[in-house]
Each structure stands twice: as C-alpha cells, then as structure tokens.
Symmetry: C2
Subunit: 491 residues, 2 copies
C-alpha cells in the first residue's frame, strides 16, 4: 500500500525507489546489480514489447537470436567499440564446477579453463556482424533487417531498479544495407518509431536529436536519440538509433557484390530500447499515491470494486457488473473484478491507485438501487456517478481521455522546462533552481563539453533534429556558435 | 534449396543437420555449442511461444524475470540439485577487462576477481526459491503461479542444432502451493498443457508418463514428461513437469502461515519446454524435400506464386490474386505473394517446399483465362486446380486438413512402433531392426535400468500414466514386475 511512500517534493529519488518496490514492479536480487522483474512490472514490459514488436514488423524487420557469450577477441575488432564496451563486463573463464575436496560445496574446476575467455554480451554488434559476414554475399541479400529481444549485461557499480542495472532486458535492431543513404534512412526511421512509441503509447513527449561526438555509441558514426524529461527536471535518454557507417562491416570484413559485380562494404545501423523505459514511464507520470499508467500500457485498464455487506449484496452487484466486464473485455479492454473478500473497499481503492489502474468502477448498495456506478479516473482523481446505461462508452472515452491527458500534462511540464541561458552564470542558476533542458550556445568542442560537465554535472543531451540556426557565443568559452544545444542533468 | 539435402533413408542424422541449415532455421556460431537462430527459425519459435504463453495465462500464470547469474553457493543448497546442475556450466569469475600491456588487445583484469563466482543459469529453481522466500508469508500469497521466458546454459561437449546446444531458449514455470495435492494437480495440469500443445499445434503425438528415479530432475520428487517419436524410431523428450515436494522450500527456507497460523513449508513445481521442440517439430514431419510444417505454427501458411512472362501478365495475375491474399489475411492467415522477378517458378516451388509452407497457390496464363488457380499441399504434395470462386474456403479447409493429416500420419507411425518384447533377445532385436518404443517388463531397480542402457543404449523413456497393470518378469533379470515400461533409444 501507499503507506510509507515518500512524497516527490520531499525526496524524489526515495519516492521512485519505494514506488518501484511497493507497486510490485521490481526488486533487487541477491546478485549485485541484477534485478527481479516482478509479475506486475513484467506485465507492463510485455505490453511495451508487444507494441514495439508490432511496430518493428510493420517496418519490415524480423526477429532472430544470437549467442549470449562473445569471444573476448571480438570486442577488439572495432577500434572504438572496444573502448566503450571492453570494460565493465561479466567474464566467463571456466566451464565446469566440481565438488570441493573438503566437502564444503562446489568449486571451480581449474582444469576446465577456457582457452579464450567469453564475455556476457553488453551489446551484440560484434557477434552479429561476424554472423552477417556469412549471410551477405550479394546486393540481393540486402537490406538485412533483424531485431533481437535479449538480456544484456554491463557491470555497474551504482545501480537503480530499471534505470541502471547490471543485467537488463532490451531489444537491439541490427540492419545491413547496400547504400549509405538507405542506412541513414533506416536509422532515422527507427528513431521515429521510438518517438512514436514514447509519445503515443507511453505518453512521454520526447526531443529527437543527435548526440555529440563525446556521447556517441562506441563504434557509431552518428547516434540519434530521443530524450525525455522526468518530473524532477532531469533528462532521461529513452532510446538510441545508431548509424554505423561501414565501421562494423570493415571490422568483420562484410562485403557484398553490387549489381555491377563490384565488391563493397556493407552499411550498418543498430538501435535499441531497454527496460530503462520502465523507469521513464514510472517517473514521467506517477504521483504521491503511486503509479499513473497510460491506458495503452496498463496491464489492468479498468478495475471494478463491489462495495457490499453480505453475500446477497455481492451477488446483486456481481449480476450488474459482470455484463459490463464482459462487454469491455470483448472490446479488448482488460478488466479486473476485485471481489477479494478479506479486504475493505478503502484498502482496495488505495491498492489500485498504487498500481496505477487508469479507471476504477465502484458499485455499492445505493448505486444498485439507482442503477448507477461511481467511476474514478486515476490521473486527475476525478470521480463521477454514471447511469449503467451507456457506461461502456463512458469508460472507452475515459481511457482515451486519460491517455491524451497524461501526455499533455507531461508535454506542458516539458515545454515550461526548456529554458534559454545566455551566460554561464544563468546556466548554473537554471540548473540549480529550475532544472529541465537548458538551451545554450556551445563552441562544438569535446573539451568545453567535458569542462561544463565537470563544473555542473550537466551533459549535452542532444542537438535537436529541427534545430534553429542562430549565431551566438559559447556560454563557457565565448567562442562562436551557430546553434543552441540542449543541456540537462540526466539519469 | 533442396539441392544437396541427404535422403532420410540414407542418413537421417545428416538429413536433419542439413535441413536445419538449408531451410534457414539455425546455424552454429563462433562460440562453441551456441547457435544462431535465424529469422525463419525464430518465426516458428515465436509462434510456439505465443501459443504456449496464452495457454499458461489461460491457466492463471503470470510472467516474470529473474537474474541470469546465480551465486555458486546457491547450487549447493538443495542436495540432489547440486549433483545434477553444478557440473558443466559457464562460470563468471571476473567483472572487468583491461587493455593488455603489450597492446595485443584486451585481457582479464586480475584485480576484478569476484569474491564468489557466478554461474550462468542452467535452470532457475535456486534463484527463484531464494526470491520466493520474501514473497511468501501467508496462505494468502499462495498459489504463486509464475513463468519465465529466458535463455539458459549447460555446457555440452557434443551439440546438435536445437536438440542439444550449450545455450538454449526456454520457458520455466515455477509455482508454489499451500498443499501437496494442489502442487501435484499443478504438475499434472502443466503436463496436459504440454501434451495439448504438442498434439494439437505441433501435430506430434506424445506419450504422457512419469520418469524413473534415475531419470528424474535433480531436486524433484516426481518428474512427468511427454515423449514423442521421431521418424527414425528414436524417442525425444518434448517437455517435463516436476513435482518438487517441499525440497526447494526446505533448501531455501520458504514457509507460510496457514489459516490456523501454523508455519508450514511450501510445496513446489517447475516445468519447462525449450527450443528443443524445434528439433522435434522438424524431425517428426519433414521429408526429403524439406520441412513439413503444421499450419498452426507455420510463419507463412500460404504462398502465392505467379507464373508469367512480362509485366502485363504479372499485372493481370496480381489483380486476381491480391484480393484472395487480402481476404485470407483478414481471416488471420499469413500469406506471402512471391513476385521475386529474378527467380523461376520451379525454383520458387522448391524453395517453399524446403521451407515447409503448407499451401502453395500458383496462377499462370491458362489459369488466368480459365479463372482458376492450382493449389498444392505440402504434406501429401497433391495438386489440384480450383475455380477462383470459393478458393478462400478451399484454402481454409485445406489448412485444417493438413493440420489433421500431419498429426494422424505421425500417430500411425508411433502406433505401429510401440512393440512388446518378452525377452532380452527380442528386445535387442527390436531395438536394432525396428526401433520405436519397446514395452517391456523391468524389475524396478536403477541397477537393471543402467545395465540395459549400457548393453543397448536404450533408456526408460517413461512409465505411461494410463499404464496397464500386469504380472510379468523383467527382461534382463527375470525378477517379478507389475507393469511394462517404455524403452527407446532417445535424442
Ligand atoms: Zn519546475
Ligand atoms: Zn519402422
């Protein structure tokens, strides 16, 4: 129950951590940095998966599966990639345990040492491009449009449920193309898919942009991203789409013969979103009473709570609400009838608020007499009494309204938290006292970017795709700049 | 293409290996024993997943996700489990790589050695029951009905695509109950779900039975299984459902207070099927031309091939078949229109036969004139010409017929390959010259079971659930026996 949920205004960070646990979304496991995703949390992730999977297939992609373990030497094949990923990772060195001589349990068998260590994949470019080498010979084999749903592992020292965990679930698309322009178009198409998903399903408005060289994926020519804003004014990178140029094709010697029988290196992209989206979803909308879920991703969209004394009243209410449940379910709406008999209605109300169920329908004795129900919406907490007649249409409309309202509320917040800074003092003041995205001029150098990060903890989230060009001066160095970029403190 | 596919009668094993590769289902990766599941193979696995997932949810289960890595010490907590699983497994000993001093690449950082080694999960009972300890306090928390879709790893020395790989994909259900009878009922229910799936979706008849003590899951009180028969007369275990008793509850100290406030250990089950089912599906039905897929699991159920010369003919044919494609798709039938212009119809026919597409529709110039199409079914290779009018109903009916026929054909084969043996000589002769299941008396001892295995390579596949009781004598020892058990050589 919400009992003990800290207030966002008191301690946003503690509020998030407690909410994830109390709403039964996830918890830490006995293995450092690895989480258990609980059934209710996983049900939300499943809805995300199903939606994204359909979007990927509608844009021509197929799923496949590549090995969990990657030979250590693969990481070194792409020069930039190794710097980014051959660091904090889980290393498999042996393939057998044996009973300890002293009977104390099992120990690693020193005779079962691998000739070459294997890495639990932190991302799969290397193993996939080593496979693509055999799949691609001719232009007829292109484009190759493949996605993988998988677990990956990056050893993290400081972890937070969903936001940063050593193991996480994700999808990684890996495509191969005959031309540069086609690969660039794919990169941008997938960025649009991610933005569409974030805005129209998660209800989270995002800025589409391109990363600076410093924030680019290790091995990419360009990294595009969608950046969301949380209720505490911090940014969260919600998805990335990388144009890989010919980097991995060259590293793994992947060539194709074009229509003129000329051998060329293939052009590549990769793109991914992860269970981090769960963190974004939770932080973007929820309140001090618990989760606020967009109807399109809520595992339970409508809960019906009977308020009764005795079996007779329950039976009478059940008879009235069961047909409503049935009709809604036939419309594809997920409905829970909460007739748990050991719990009081007030407890149930608080429980479903905590769980973020968008629409709550309650029916008591007086409703029974009047032929009405009380309907409460989770986002605004508005309650109204409706006649049973037409209640299905009311609920359908309400679900649409809630989906729209959640997005609009987040959009209003985001719009009022993009602020221009004209000087470094103003920049620091905004960061400290208002938060959000700060649009400021920057001289384009990694040096300046890192200096600003060092001084303020703010990073350049992206250069927006539709960015206005204007002459200005870098807020730190005063050097000339042709456009503003978006800075923020970020998750 | 089927070119180069060995005949089953010549070399069944080579036929299988080549078929898996040529039909684009899977291939070996650079990592020993780990496979790449290619898009076409993965599309079949996705259909299996979706079907099973719905069956699990219809029986009240939810999905969740538990960590990939398991502390080494967890394996030792259940005495039998450790013997079964703490052997050939991938062991993570370090969490960081660093650049080699000599610039030769990356090496394991000796300073990043884990205090306790972590095992890539071979199965998740231990990590899940260590979690359940915190989830279960009262009888109100029971039953706990959870399933996980995941990758697991068992280091295998001899691997075969789908049938035995070091990494494989699977689902593992893990449930907790207040009473023994409820846990036993769950174990049997899931066995029925698996049998239903195997027979009614895969078209593979199975024998439901219980394993002998010797073949039991390490840590289970009873292991139930479904056993299928392949076209070479060998058995394949297609799914297992384990009644765990209170073994894991005791190992991980999972207790609940019952309605009388008494603390009791919880009763458990676990059950799983894996990408091994892909092997069963392929081997049960396919022929020398390629895959034969049951319509319910075929990624492409109908392929339409236009036979034309020039754009004008193609346009005319397209105009006729597009509405058929559309109508079928609206009925939920997946249809591919193969208008690849660089390939000849004969090549396309062979390609879709190799891929096991159940129904092929062809339309040529004469069909165009007559208002007909030629329809071929993959299972029997029958071809007939049909009027366009009513063709959708014809195809629907055909898909049902093929689904039924595939099952019946496999059932006939299975029924004609269950043979009684009354002596050990007869037993050996049957094994050598006929194969299949051999129903024979056995004295009930592990010693005899292992001796028979040593002498013949046959194992006891199961004691069928509906087994007839009859007095007899063990084929090896002559000791008294009250029932026959099923022996076979197995995958
Ligand atoms: Zn503000
Ligand atoms: Zn035979």
């Amino acid at each position: 129950m919400a009992k003990g949920l800290p207030k966002r205004s008191d301690d946003y960070s503690a509020w998030y951590n407690e909410l994830v646990k109390k709403a039964d979304l996830a918890e830490n496991s006995a293995v450092r940095g690895c989480m258990v995703i609980k059934p209710y949390g996983y049900a939300i992730w499943e809805k995300m998966q199903q939606t994204l999977d359909k979007m990927f297939k509608d844009t021509g992609h197929s799923n496949a599966y590549f090995p969990l373990l990657i030979p250590k030497s693969y990481l070194s094949k792409e020069a930039d990639h190794v710097d980014g990923f051959a660091k904090e990772c889980a290393v498999v060195t042996h393939y057998r345990l044996k009973n300890a001589d002293d009977g104390s349990g099992v120990v690693v068998d020193p005779e079962a040492k691998l000739d070459e260590e294997l890495i639990v994949r932190p991302t799969s470019e290397t193993v996939i491009w080593s496979t693509y080498k055999n799949w691609i010979q001719s232009y007829r084999d292109l484009p190759l449009l493949v996605n993988q749903w998988a677990n990956v592992m990056r050893w993290e020292m400081r972890t937070r449920l969903f936001l940063r965990t050593s193991e996480f679930l994700w999808q990684e698309g890996h495509t191969a193309h005959a031309t540069k322009s086609e690969a660039v178009a794919e990169t941008k198409q997938m960025l649009e898919v991610y933005a569409d998903f974030a805005e129209n399903f998660m209800g989270v408005p995002v800025v589409k942009g391109v990363k600076t060289a410093n924030e680019r994926f290790a091995g990419a020519v360009d990294t595009f991203c969608i950046e969301a804003m949380m209720q505490d004014g911090k940014a969260l990178q919600a998805g990335t789409s990388h144009f890989l140029g010919q980097n991995f094709a060259k590293a793994f010697d992947v060539k194709f013969s074009d229509k003129d029988n000329k051998l060329e290196h293939v052009w590549g992209t990769s793109w991914g979103v992860s269970t981090r989206l769960m963190g974004a979803l939770i932080m973007a909308h929820s309140d001090d009473e618990g989760l606020v879920l967009p109807p399109k991703l809520a595992p339970i969209q409508v809960v019906i709570v009977p308020i009764y004394k005795g079996q007779e009243q329950l039976d009478a209410i059940t008879e009235k609400v069961k047909p409503i449940q049935k009709t809604l379910q036939n419309l594809g709406i997920s409905v829970k009838f909460d007739d748990r008999d050991s719990l009081r209605p007030g407890f149930k109300f608080a429980d479903w608020e905590l769980k973020g169920v968008p629409v709550r329908v309650a029916m008591g004795q007086r409703d029974l007499e009047n032929g009405t129900v009380e309907i409460a919406r989770r986002d605004t907490k508005e309650k109204n009494t409706y006649q049973l007649d037409g209640v299905v249409e009311t609920i359908q409309q309400l679900l649409e309204d809630i989906q729209a309202n959640i997005f609009n509320k987040a959009l209003d917040y985001r719009e009022s938290h993009i602020t221009k800074a004209e000087s470094f003092d103003e920049f620091k003041d905004l960061l400290e006292n208002k938060g959000g995205f700060i649009a400021a001029h920057w001289d384009g150098t990694t040096e300046t970017e890192e200096k600003i990060k060092e001084l303020t903890k703010a990073t350049i989230r992206c250069i927006p795709l539709d960015n206005e060009q204007e002459d200005g001066k870098c807020i730190l160095t005063g050097n000339p700049s042709s456009q503003r970029v978006l800075f923020a403190k970020a998750y």
